[in-house]
């Protein structure tokens, strides 16, 4: 791993380690090392550096909500805003535990895209009506309730810089 100003350049080994961690973050340094044919101490050093540099932001657990008996509905909100207030609204949205993702987008109008979860439709509506609609600068909200997800994956790092990873 090299630094170029603010940018950190990863070498092939860093990228391979990241790919293994993204597939399963519980793997030990020894397991990753043996797969990549390098010492576990090398894997440890590389991971430490990537954590220190903020390349690895965190390790998280993805819980299957249905299996633990928490049936939640997911909805995609498209919030049209007064451009002067967009950033404020986006920041406020990040404070709600019901809101999982927040991003801004510009097509015909400046909008905020947000993914929100709720116990049921009544709770979803109540949350939007009482917490989102009253925010200053909210002009309109369009909400689509997700009925079925066909794919849900996190970003996976390409194997080489500027190259697309081939499907294994």
């Amino acid at each position: 791993m090299k630094s170029k100003g603010q940018e950190v350049i990863l070498d092939d080994l860093d990228r391979q380690i990241l790919r293994f961690l993204q597939a399963n973050a519980k793997q030990t340094y020894t397991e990753i090392g043996s797969k990549l044919k390098v010492a576990h101490s090398t894997v440890y050093d590389r991971i430490q550096k990537m954590e220190e540099n903020g390349i690895i932001k965190k390790y998280e657990v993805i819980v299957d909500r249905e299996k633990v008996g928490i049936p939640l509905i997911t909805a995609q909100m498209n919030i049209t805003t007064d451009p002067k207030e967009t950033e404020n609204i986006a920041k406020k949205l990040t404070n709600f535990s019901q809101v999982l993702e927040v991003s801004t987008s510009f097509s015909e109008e400046l909008v905020i895209l947000a993914e929100v979860v709720a116990k049921d439709q009544a709770e979803l509506h109540s949350f939007i009506a009482k917490s989102i609609a009253p925010l200053p600068g909210v002009l309109r909200i369009r909400t689509a309730i997700v009925t079925k997800k066909y794919k849900e994956e996190r970003f996976s790092l390409p194997f080489r810089e500027n190259g697309l990873r081939k499907k294994e």
Binding site: L124, V138, R142
Partner: protein
Amino acid sequence: MVVSSSRTLRSVLREEAFYFFTSIGNYTGQSAASLDEFLQKIKDIDIKSLEFHLFREDFEKWISQTLGDNQLAQEIKILRTQKVVGNALRDRLYFIVSRRLKELKSTFAPKERAQLSVL
């Protein structure tokens, strides 16, 4: 009567205003922070929004719980039980709310009126 009139005729905080939706999570961008404003919105709001809120009992709840007017809430409840829809709903809702507004304003003591205008 004066006390309930002042409560019903006041402007409420942004968080307590009525927000018009057309379906679950679909906000029209229109809101009303007083009964006066509510009446004005009834005239032009998408009819789907009126039907959506009537059958969810949202109008009744807001008018009785936030504005404290159980009488008006009861009159709106009748529209719901009669399953009034479309332009008939808009017309009857407008009639009921405007009549109640006139009634409340006429019983409003001058002193209270002055206090409300200060608020």
